[in-house]
Subunit: 470 residues, 2 copies
């Protein structure tokens, strides 16, 4: 029965799917900084409700409620593809000759191909409950757009997706999946919004960016007749981290069954939703003193290094500067990663929760080069039969480094990383890696300074560029 | 606890993964017809061993052994991605307003995207145990080639894949996945084999076919130095149905836990390996009289209707006519489905086991048009969060028909169908369906006659065209 005690994969029972989300903010010594309007005042419900569904605004602003009931209408859909497995990477351990135990929580077994569906279902559900007809969003790599298309189809909502034009052209199959689920997919910058037309006019901006696509999606939501449209975002926001806590809660429950607990928790970080969700209950245990020594590592691409080289400042969430200001590690809302950068994780900012935890010393961050990431991805694929998304492979890369260190020191660490999704729509990048045409780009200090210059001044809070006012 | 009793998904524990394959032939009233050489003599071990690995030949020829131990070296890899879930399609049932219970066994949660990995691992394992260095194969839609590439990477074998040229060009990402796993992928017909050069010379044959690719892969295997190469086939053969019995055995174990048993078992049928594996233990129960009333339905495309319109005759497995003769329902080894046909399931023949069961009246077969198949696929995707492979969607289509009938009659049937894989690499076909450019092609009688004309005469057995000798 050795194997049943230590299986390759643990699937919880359906009745072990969490019934509540966990709100990490309630246990943080200091909560993340509040959203602000450009004039520096703190954003309130009435400022956000025109853009986001009411219940989601409440979740966004609520730093107090520790556990939030998951409505049955959401849980019913979670049951269709969850619980996701907690997997033991025996083959990888053997190949690395490490005494470490490597676990990964695999979120890729649904058509969106990633963890994004966890929050998409919640957001679409609340929009539907509010009687809205239309949800809008942006997508880059396409996982979020696919997830929201699926969710919208389920709850009977219209779904307008603005897809970064470069991805729209490079990933026609991603687009097709969204259309198959009934979404309307528009390349961004488009001719259909004011900000889109403005950006499109300058050829330099025509390939698009997440920031621009966000601005277009927000503008579109605000113009849906009878105020029946809202915008939905797949990462960064507190509400999204809340929904994604289901990843960490299931992981913890599986570890409980195994009688294990991770020493290190590793996640890739783009906007921070997967990372925030994965670490949530383990960070709770650290913050409450129950497990004070757990180490947390955010892994980001060297080409878009918000946590490792960005500034902790208030910045716009979008290039169009239409969204409220968020206090986060940011490269500046005008920063656009090099076109050499293949995978996702290309957002200029970072979840305020993750940012605050990093700033206060509870979480480490490292950056990795994409050629190292793809090398790790391929080794992992051969050993574990899963072709990882490039985003997820950032975490694999660092988990392998940690396990190699254990091989040197003999430490029997328990390592957990988040395998957020699959790479079926990223074969162009894999091909570039295999052909040897993939290039690593690390922004120069001058490039970063140009990005920082787009961080706005906020009256009474900070100067332009992000430094606090004296 | 209602839901735990009737969950959306049942995952067996790892120690419930079968330890033995089940050989359905041992319980068939009459075994399938033996392979023959072109002169009509029955193929023996020594005729097949130059082409297939020894243990696989033994499995191919063994109609007696009821249960075959699964070596630990294969089970270790099964544990990495199995057991696969048995899912209850509650959302689909609700949408159809049916009293039927619809279950599907989902085999798509591995990088090959399908059930093919079950046999690929077994075949690569036995090749490795025999000390071989190289395995060769053909692939059309790409699932089998991907699966064998994964398996070869795991056991340290070279893998040469001949990919039907039309697919090679239309599905570059499938090719990239195989290359990522280290396989050498060659478009077929190629310049690298005698039969390839011969086929390539005629422009009409240049887009390739499975039959040609098989011939090339066999030729390549026979030319590996020191006799260290073997050919491996992903369907049709008895050995493959044996390996795929793991699908049915896991399904049965899950039904046991539920206290249910299917009234109808439905599978798509190309070469027949998924269908043969899925039905194996349920057909055993029918043949042994324990569950005499279970109904079995093979679903094939109207554009490649071997079971519903083919002849039960000895035919070559490959266009090059280099393989032994197999008694099966066949459209003739020269039959090539219309280029309008989008999905897989384009093989001219059918598993001898499935063919024999059909011929003897134990199994029904129906054909469906691809536009109906894609309509069913999209409805399913929206309800169940899985984007099905077009192949799998054939089974979905008929399962939905059965469930609709129950809605009319009020029968509370238990329906099981095989969801063999995911459609991430089939978006071109989905797009054609959504654009309204997808065309249904049903071969005319004249087209079928041209195919039948390629069925060879076999001395003492049958005339050319397949009619038994008088």
């Amino acid at each position: 029965m050795e194997n049943q005690k230590n299986p390759y994969r643990i699937y919880l029972r359906e009745d072990q799917i969490p019934t509540q989300y966990y709100n990490l903010r309630a246990d943080m010594p200091e909560p993340p900084e509040p959203m602000r309007l450009p004039d520096g005042t703190v954003a309130q419900f009435e400022h956000l409700a025109p853009v986001f569904a009411d219940e989601l605004v409440r979740q966004e602003l609520d730093n107090e409620t520790r556990y939030v009931d998951i409505p049955e209408g959401i849980r019913e859909m979670y049951k269709v593809y969850r619980p996701s497995p907690l997997c033991r990477a025996y083959n990888l351990e053997k190949a690395l000759g490490t005494p470490a135990k490597i676990y990964y929580k695999f979120e890729g077994n649904n058509t969106s191909g990633s963890h994004k569906l966890n929050s998409a279902l919640a957001q679409a559900y609340y929009a539907h409950e509010q009687g809205l007809t239309t949800i809008t969003t942006e997508t880059g790599a396409g996982q979020w757009g696919t997830a929201l298309s699926e969710a919208a189809a389920h709850y009977g909502l219209n779904c307008d997706v603005f897809m970064v034009r470069a991805s729209y052209e490079q990933k026609p199959f991603r687009r097709s999946v969204m259309q198959t689920f009934g979404a309307q997919v528009t390349p961004s910058p488009s001719q259909e919004t004011e900000i889109g037309r403005k950006m499109y006019a300058d050829e330099a901006n025509r390939s698009g960016s997440l920031g621009t696509a966000i601005s277009e999606a927000v503008e579109r939501a605000l113009h849906v007749p009878e105020n029946k449209g809202r915008y939905q975002l797949g990462s960064v926001l507190n509400q999204v981290v809340l929904h994604q806590s289901i990843i960490g809660l299931e992981s913890l429950a599986a570890f409980d069954e195994l009688g294990e607990y991770p020493d290190v928790v590793i996640g890739c970080a783009g906007g921070g939703s997967n990372l925030g969700g994965l670490i949530a209950p383990f960070m709770r245990d650290k913050l409450t003193g129950e497990k004070p020594d757990t180490r947390f590592i955010a892994v980001e691409p060297a080409s878009c290094p918000s946590l490792t080289r960005g500034r902790y400042a208030y910045d716009f969430a979008d290039t169009g500067q239409t969204c409220p200001l968020v206090k986060m590690y940011t490269l500046g809302n005008g920063f656009i990663p090099s076109p050499d950068h293949a995978g996702g994780l290309r957002y200029h900012g970072m979840s305020p929760i993750i940012s605050k935890l990093k700033h206060d010393g509870y979480l480490d961050a490292v950056s990795v080069k994409q050629t190292d990431v793809f090398a790790a991805a391929e080794e992992f694929a051969k050993l574990e039969t899963i072709l990882p998304a490039p985003e997820s492979a950032h975490a694999i890369c660092v988990a392998m480094e940690e396990a190699r260190k254990c091989a040197e020191t003999g430490e029997e660490k328990v390592i957990l990383f988040g395998l957020t999704g699959t790479g079926y729509f990223d074969m162009t990048a894999y091909e570039a890696f295999n052909n040897g045409t993939m290039v690593d780009h690390v922004p120069t200090d001058e490039e970063l300074e140009r990005g920082f210059a787009t961080i706005p001044a906020v009256p009474g809070i900070q100067d332009a560029g992000g430094a606090p006012v004296a």
